[in-house]
């Protein structure tokens, strides 16, 4: 990664040389982190899509993979060996849908055996079609859209009362922001000044029946709406871990305020025919030919990190 403003040794005193070495080391470390997260996002897409002959929400699974990678491999403080660790961060998958990258990340981190992924939606499996507390690492059973923030506000208030250091991070779809409950909860997050609470919107722009959110029920201007509800807001490229980290590494974005990160994403990211179709629901072997899965996986595999 190019260094923006290299300091020439002859212009700098010994202290600034030291700080320059330090900051260079920091930059290198950061670059490593970003490329590691890119690789993890690719891994979540690939392994997640393999589950998609069993699950339904390929479009959002692919749009949220970079967000999930940043959260589970860097931002969230979790202990897979002790999922109930009192000081942990609380992650809430508000929509319940798009479970694929979440399941892959949890298995990869050791919350449950990797082979369990072969049993998503099997009879009696702990891995449901929508994320549920049957799965180690999942804090709340969700799936009825627009509810996650309300649960998150309660959890964040509990952390405050209990003086726990953890934070609450929720990922929501964008379509579910049409639910009234979301904004009831947003109001309360602001009222209680929950700066231990962050909402990340997977802003892929499409909802069910593959229709655009702005066609169905307009959400924009989303930043202003969050800001008006008292959130400190950033809008970033949701497929660029570097951009996501600029927001997520500095939580809370403002002291005394809940944070909102609107991550602009592409539904079906990484698979051309899913991207162009803005596919919401789709199951290989049912909605798409199984042969297309092979093609999609090849496409994902061929992508640069």
């Amino acid at each position: 990664m190019p260094i923006a403003n290299p300091i020439r040794a002859d212009q700098a005193g010994p202290e600034s040389i030291l700080s320059s070495v330090k900051s260079n080391a920091k930059r290198a470390e950061h670059a490593d982190l970003v490329s590691r997260l890119r690789a993890k996002a690719k891994f979540l897409r690939y392994e997640g899509l393999k589950l998609n002959s069993r699950t339904l929400h390929a479009g959002a699974a692919l749009s949220s993979a970079d967000i999930i990678a940043c959260l589970f491999y860097h931002v969230l403080r979790l202990d897979p060996k002790n999922p109930a660790w009192a000081d942990r961060d609380i992650f809430i998958n508000s929509r319940g849908h798009a479970c694929e990258p979440v399941y892959v990340a949890l298995a990869d981190l050791g919350f449950f055996p990797w082979d369990d992924l072969q049993h998503v939606e099997d009879f009696g499996s702990h891995l449901h079609g929508l994320t549920a507390t049957t799965t180690p690492g999942i804090e709340f059973s969700t799936g009825a859209l627009g509810t996650g923030l309300s649960l998150a506000v309660g959890a964040a208030l509990a952390q405050r009362v209990q003086k726990r250091p953890g934070r609450v991070v929720i990922v929501t779809g964008d379509g579910e922001l049409q639910e009234g409950l979301f904004w009831e909860a947003a109001m309360s997050a602001n009222h209680y000044q929950l700066d231990n609470l962050t909402v990340i919107v997977d802003r892929n722009g499409y909802q069910s029946n593959d229709r655009g959110t702005e066609t169905v029920m307009r959400l924009e201007p989303l930043e202003q709406r969050f800001a008006a509800f008292g959130f400190e807001t950033r809008r970033v490229d949701g497929h660029d871990p570097e951009a996501l980290l600029t927001a997520l590494e500095t939580l809370p974005l403002a002291k005394g305020k809940p944070s909102a990160v609107i991550a602009d994403t592409i539904k079906g990211k990484g698979v051309s025919f899913l991207e162009s179709g803005h596919i919401h629901c789709g199951r290989f072997g049912r909605d798409f030919e199984m042969s297309l899965l092979e093609k999609a996986l090849q496409e994902l595999e061929g992508q640069p990190v």
């Binding site: 609380i90 507390t133 804090e139 709340f140 059973s141 799936g143 009825a144 509810t147 923030l149 309300s150 649960l151 998150a152 506000v153 309660g154 959890a155 964040a156 208030l157 509990a158 952390q159 405050r160 009362v161 209990q162 009234g180 409950l181 009831e184 909860a185 109001m187 309360s188 209680y192």
Partner: protein
Amino acid sequence: MNASNPTKPLSLFRQIEEISLGSAASSFSELLCEHAARDPRICYVGVDTMDQEFLRRFPERAFDVGIAEQNQLGMATGLARMGMIPVVQAWSPFTPLRNFEQLRTYFCRHNSNGKIVSVALGLANCSHGTTHHDLESIALYRVVPNLTVLAAMDDAQFRLAFPVAMAHVGPVVLLGPPEIYAPGAEGLEPLDIPVHGDFQIGKAEWLRRGSDAAIISVGAALRYSWQAAELLATEGIKASVINMCSLKPLDASAVLEAARSHRAIITVEEQSVIGGLGSACAEVLAENGVSVPFRRVGIPDQFCENLGDWTYTREQVGLTRSNVAQTIREMLKTGGRSP
């Protein structure tokens, strides 16, 4: 009738609150604070309500979501999941009508160790009309898994039920005694009922034992059920009165005992006849192969749009002492066959 300061001009909204909460509100506040002083997990979640004493003593645990029932139960679920014990103050019928999904899919699915304390069951908010009539909360509550549904008929029983609700681990709804705004109305005279026994989950309370007919009732309807039994006693008809204060789990053995030892059973509730206490008792009788003359007295399958005070509104739908008594007389005469 329960306005704390009669000389203070009250806005309508405030007036409703003061009157509806009444003495149960002061018991609630006292008991809640007593429990919260012992257990730091207990927090209060109001819905445009705030227990002022709780707020004064435990400000960091006092939450009021404003007029937002869905968020109230969503937040309560979040709190409970993190180990808190939210005590949710709720108003029938808005809870469970406005937040039924949050009740079922979040609060109860997560088996939240939270307590919903609800006021204004039935036609207590009579003059406000259908928006404020609770015709179906028993039917709705009892269909939700994990949820324990309790009902206190008066303040004295509320004081016994509250600690039981708090001690039970899991979601509980405690239907508090409706305080009715109908000063001087017929039916609100003090009742000369026996002192309540211990409150037990799964146990009904026999207020009166007779041998001819058994009245199974709940909440405010117990008032006119009791009065009907007294009226019948003057005619030589001995009626039992059973307070089904544990609606879920229902005290099935009390229903079966009533069937064994009486010639007729009647359920009386300030709820729709569909799905509530009457339906629950009918299920017990049918599944146990018991054949006994049986009637449900409740709000017929209709909205109550002919409004007045509590007594007037009840009269319009047949929820009166005289109709309960008459129904029993007819059942005993005809053997329960429809006339």
